[in-house]
């Protein structure tokens, strides 16, 4: 196959990937988009297999089958609530794969046309080490993010003295290593870069706490793209450069949307350490205030007599696996002629769009699921807001209390509706550690209990 033919086929593959992303602009076109993505990948792989230098079909075929079987098995078995950690785990694989490809190029530069061992071009070396560096950070950062999401590692931010200084020093050290590597091309320096970058990846994610995870997961998504880009530059492969840039841009935009949803700069999320420490400051004033409590029957009665209900789900719904029971409740209310809709805050859950997927899993039609901007002005005309597993994203203090750590964060205006039903396990504060004044309002009724059990009980009372 001629070089031009390869370039054209790679271009087609890259276009397919662009269409794959483009398809996601609407649920109806999205499945076709996914097929474009698969076709693009098949074209890329077959084209590469046609290279003259590629001869060991048996080994490559076996490797694809083994990897493919593992991937298929995991993807088919995974619970939808565990998606965030699955995505984090997959990111780590992209990162480490990038490291291996860079290492392969370093040990056998001739196969990639970038020079001979010990005499690789300077620019190739720089590109290679940058790809390796980003890949290794993505790998270890994602593993730690996976651990935090899975619960094997504490989700609490771990902060220590001089954290940022240490990270900055390590970064400086890596830069120094890369310079040395470009001069002496020594394998030991290459592997030092790998290991120090892995260490840095851990240190970067360690201070970032549970609810900031949507930002971290999107950021690692972005890194995995830039790593692919770095490898693309090393191999002068436009397909890798284009795809890497698409993925990098996608992750960067998602990180931006997520941090905007929390009214925080990406920098402050990256530096981490948010949550927990402010807990004491705001909560003391409220300890003697009265909270109105209700049970499932009260909730059923209130909602049955309403015209419109907006359901506000949060991470707690995912934890309790309450989405199916919740949908059942919504269905009964709809049968009664009540207008039931769902309001999703951009940072609800542990990854971008987490709540939408869970509601879709429970067969909630996507037309009933609305974003913050689309639904926020409807709360004053709504009789009942049903908050389930969300907390900080409904806290009116974000609008009024300038001293609050969440001040300025866009919130769902549930307090403007006539009645707020708040399903919660206990009076504990949300992730930000800020007390929610909504609990003490006259129009709020607290429903204490497990989210799933509560929905089931309400369903029974409604029947």
């Amino acid at each position: 196959m001629s070089a031009n033919m390869v370039a054209v086929l790679y271009l087609i593959s890259a276009l397919m990937f662009i269409f794959a992303l483009r398809g996601l602009s609407h649920p109806e076109s999205s499945r076709l988009g996914n097929i474009f993505g698969i076709v693009g990948m098949i074209i890329a792989i077959i084209t590469t297999l046609m290279f003259k230098s590629v001869l060991s079909y048996v080994e490559i075929g076996a490797a694809i089958i083994v990897g493919g079987a593992i991937g298929t098995f995991i993807a088919l078995r995974i619970e939808m609530t565990a998606l965030p950690q699955l995505v984090a785990a997959f990111h780590s694989l992209v990162g480490i794969a990038a490291v291996f490809v860079a290492a392969a190029a370093f040990y056998d530069p001739a196969s990639f046309g970038i020079g001979k061992i010990g005499a690789i071009g300077k620019s190739s070396l720089i590109e290679m080490s940058i790809g390796t560096f980003i890949g290794a950070i993505t790998f270890s950062g994602s593993i730690l993010a996976f651990g935090k999401l899975q619960g094997t590692v504490s989700g609490k931010p771990i902060v220590f003295k001089f954290q940022h200084h240490i990270n900055a020093l390590i970064l400086l050290f890596i830069t120094f290593l890369i310079v040395i590597f470009c001069i002496n091309q020594s394998p030991s320096i290459f592997w030092t870069i790998v290991f120090v970058s892995i260490l840095l990846g851990f240190l970067v994610v360690i201070p970032i706490g549970g609810a900031d995870m949507p930002v971290v997961v999107s950021m690692l998504n972005s890194y995995s793209g830039w790593a692919a880009c770095g490898i693309g530059f090393t191999l002068s492969n436009n397909l890798l450069i284009i795809t890497g840039a698409l993925v990098g841009a996608s992750g960067a935009i998602l990180s931006y949307i997520m941090s905007k949803g929390m009214n925080r700069s990406i920098i402050s999320v990256v530096l981490g350490g948010f949550g927990g420490e402010q807990a004491a400051s705001n909560s003391d004033g409220n300890s003697d205030k009265i909270v109105k409590q209700g049970n499932a029957e009260d909730a059923a009665y209130i909602m049955k007599n309403a015209d419109s209900v907006i359901i506000v789900p949060g991470y707690g719904m995912a934890v309790a696996q309450a989405q199916h029971a919740l949908r059942e409740m919504g269905d009964i209310l709809k049968k009664e002629g009540i207008n039931v809709r769902y309001a999703i805050h951009p940072v609800a859950g542990r990854m971008p769009g987490h709540m939408n997927v869970l509601l879709a899993e429970a067969n909630v039609p996507y037309e009933e699921v609305l974003e913050l901007d689309e639904i926020n002005h409807d709360f004053p005309m709504t009789e009942v807001s049903f908050v389930i597993g969300a907390n900080d994203v409904t806290n009116p203090a974000a609008k009024t209390d300038e001293t609050s750590p969440i001040y300025g964060m866009p919130i769902l205006d549930v307090e403007r509706s006539q009645t707020v039903l708040f399903v919660k396990r206990s009076m504990a504060t949300g992730y930000s550690g800020v007390d929610n004044e909504l609990f003490y309002r006259d129009n709020t009724t607290m429903l204490f209990g497990d989210a799933k059990k509560m929905c089931e009980d309400i369903v029974k009372s409604l029947a």
């Binding site: 649920p27 290279f51 995505v87 071009g121 620019s123 769009g353 067969n363 974003e371």
Partner: protein
Amino acid sequence: MEAHSSEVFVIGLTVFFLACIIGYYVVWSVTPALHSPLMGVTNAISSVIIVGAILAAGPLGHDTSKIFGIIGVVLASVNIFGGFIVTYRMLSMFKKKPKKEQKDK
């Protein structure tokens, strides 16, 4: 040789920036409801790095580079299959459901 390699780099850079701009506009047009599938599919396509791994694994014989290549192919394949399948699973949940008896208004 030196002039040639810098030319290649500039072409790569051109492609890179144009792709970033395309990515920017395409991703902003993604509906927020599908941000999770977006992560799934970007995950899958970023494994196009398998192209590099196949090149490394390609030659006959058994040197270090080839072993790294094979490992790379395995890892990237996990991601390609896993990423596309999990995206497919997510997207099929967003299918319009055939309405049962209750859609009376």
